[in-house]
Subunit: 365 residues, 2 copies
């Protein structure tokens, strides 16, 4: 049906092996032969059969990128950066496959199986991980198998996997055939959150609401920990209040909206609201505005991530910048084995406080 290597070989008057060599270019071939082959390829409109070559070569050029929500620019930016490193021009020549888990642990596992089935060259897991022990265990197992099958595994925007307890000492000698633990590009969420809350405290805020992400996510936990660490630093008494002034929700606009209404109910005297991320912050702002509160006059608001729209929000959003593109690109290079592994296998990306117009000192009094 479709034209095959053999057809091209026949047409060019050479053997199939030669055609293969010309196409993969990893073996010397005489100039004349080469161009004859190339012409035959052109004329026959030949396109390599990927599955066949993957089977024979026992490798594929697929790289899986798992994201929690592809419609969220946070992930879009990371995925785009990972993919940019795969460009044929950049020596990658891999096909980056973006898979949308929707934040579901089961789908995460399903996609990993699918990717293992495809014998993916690498897999990049992005964004916060779910902290359920059962899932962590299942995930670790799956990743171990992938690594064992020769697939490079890279984590981006989530912490390294917790040390496996069950494997005892045998795992001590990592870095061997199994590739060791997955390489990680982690974000300094804790530090960023801490600086952000510190900023609010320095402005004089004391009643600070926090609309956090889903409870069982690493990113949520780290940001919350940073927040509370800052509170504790300033005055341990604030810590007591923190619990009451925290609500959880999804990483989306409506949870910011709903969360803010709830916080306002719990504490009408709120002078600031921190959001799990910039998207949530948008919802926070909307709720505040509808409640007749001005930003930052009555209530200061801050987000996290510094997505592109944040600087253009009105008022411009104070937030914590994560160099998402750079992090994604790094992860991409690690996935291709084009960057050497960071010390300890973990590269932590710095975050930067971006003070803009949505935060100000609370009304005096």
């Amino acid at each position: 049906m479709a034209v095959t290597l053999a057809d091209v070989a026949a047409r060019a008057g050479v053997s199939a092996a030669t055609v293969s060599r010309v196409l993969s270019g990893n073996y010397p071939v005489a100039g004349a032969t080469r161009s004859r082959v190339l012409r035959a390829v052109e004329e026959l409109e030949y396109v390599v059969n990927g599955p066949a070559s993957s089977l024979a070569a026992a490798t594929s050029d697929l790289v899986g990128v798992l994201v929690n929500d592809i419609a969220d620019p946070f992930f879009g930016i990371i995925a785009s950066a990972v993919q940019s490193e795969m460009e044929p021009e950049k020596g990658g020549g891999k096909l980056a496959v973006v898979c949308n888990t929707g934040g579901s642990p089961e789908r995460e596992l399903t996609y990993l199986t699918l990717l293992q089935r495809q014998r993916a060259a690498a897999v990049v897991l992005t964004g916060s991980a779910v902290e359920d022990p059962a899932h962590t265990e299942a995930l670790a197992t799956r990743l171990r198998r992938l690594a064992a099958a020769g697939t490079r595994v890279v984590l981006c925007g989530r912490p390294p996997l917790p040390e496996a307890d069950g494997d005892g000492g045998r795992d001590g000698q990592r870095g061997a055939a199994d590739g060791g633990a997955p390489l990680t590009v982690a974000f300094d969420n804790r530090g960023g959150a801490r600086r952000l809350t510190g900023h609010l405290l320095a402005l004089g805020h004391r009643r600070i609401g926090y609309v956090a992400g889903p409870a069982e996510r690493t990113t949520t936990r780290h940001r919350l920990e940073g927040h509370r660490a800052a509170l504790a630093d300033h005055d341990r008494a604030l810590l007591a209040e923190a619990e009451r002034l925290t609500v959880h929700g999804a990483y989306d606009r409506s949870s910011g909206y709903d969360g803010t209404l709830e916080l306002l109910r719990r504490e009408p005297g709120l002078t600031a609201v921190l959001a799990a991320n910039d998207t949530v912050a948008l919802g926070v702002c909307a709720a505040l505005r509808e409640a007749g509160l001005s930003i930052p006059g009555d209530v200061s608001v801050a987000g996290f991530d510094d997505l592109p729209f944040s600087a253009d929000a009105s008022p411009a959003l104070t937030t914590v910048r994560i160099p998402l593109h750079g992090a994604g690109a790094r992860a991409g290079r690690l996935a291709l084995g084009r960057d050497s592994a960071p010390p300890g296998g973990v590269a932590t990306v710095r975050t930067e406080l971006m003070v803009r117009a949505s935060t100000a000192a609370p009304r005096s009094g």
Copy 2:
């Protein structure tokens, strides 16, 4: 190295053929045998070798989704919707591969080749197409080959391919083996733009600036045509001005910013600015604000697409809603052959004017 079908067969005490049948489930197998096989699969942690089965079966479960910019929620939402239809639960069981072309025609072609090489089951091209004749031709050729190779091709958010001139009458009998022209889910950009401009005109605006997208894109052209049609409807004299009040740029925030500054230079008396899309509108707003102009007091602003952040912008953005999720889902179903083809192969998605706070009557006088 890895465990294969044969290993499983040996373990279960059956033949490889039986294991294959159990796994693909498309052939009767005795209950007892089946569970014995399944257990062996579990115990051996067997994972099908995708390339091998694709080779043998001459089909793959990959579906390519080409997007112009994966970091843009416009595409993220569409891609997410396409992918949601591929869920194993939904009977899809396909692996949706999101490929980021960055709007580059060459990369579009490159990815299509890559996907053809993988023997993709289907390909969905999303977003505006580049209108360069050479590229259109090359694209049409590539798509024809894909279709001929059995890959389903679906267009989403771009118009159907122009009729091929070269093929003469032979193409008349479409719908045969080659699957005919690609199925299309088109957006009514023209109609939406027309209603939007109509809205502005009805409010009393006459000096309306337009920050358009890149000149050679179908979406850009259609929105511009709708805009001008509305102007012409109202008063042909406005049409004469339209050219002068239009600037082109990318579909991003900064082109909105820069474009607005340019428009203001050309026509300080502007009372409204229409943006190529919501993201561009954000840039427009920023530029206006920096110029000391209030929205909509001094200048009205409107976007296009109705991305999630638009309703939360301040002021909330008047825009044209495109049901991106629904369109993407439809495209996904068409790609899987799960929806029957729309009449004429083209489904046009309605757009809806969303009037919000960023547009108002111009200052009297």
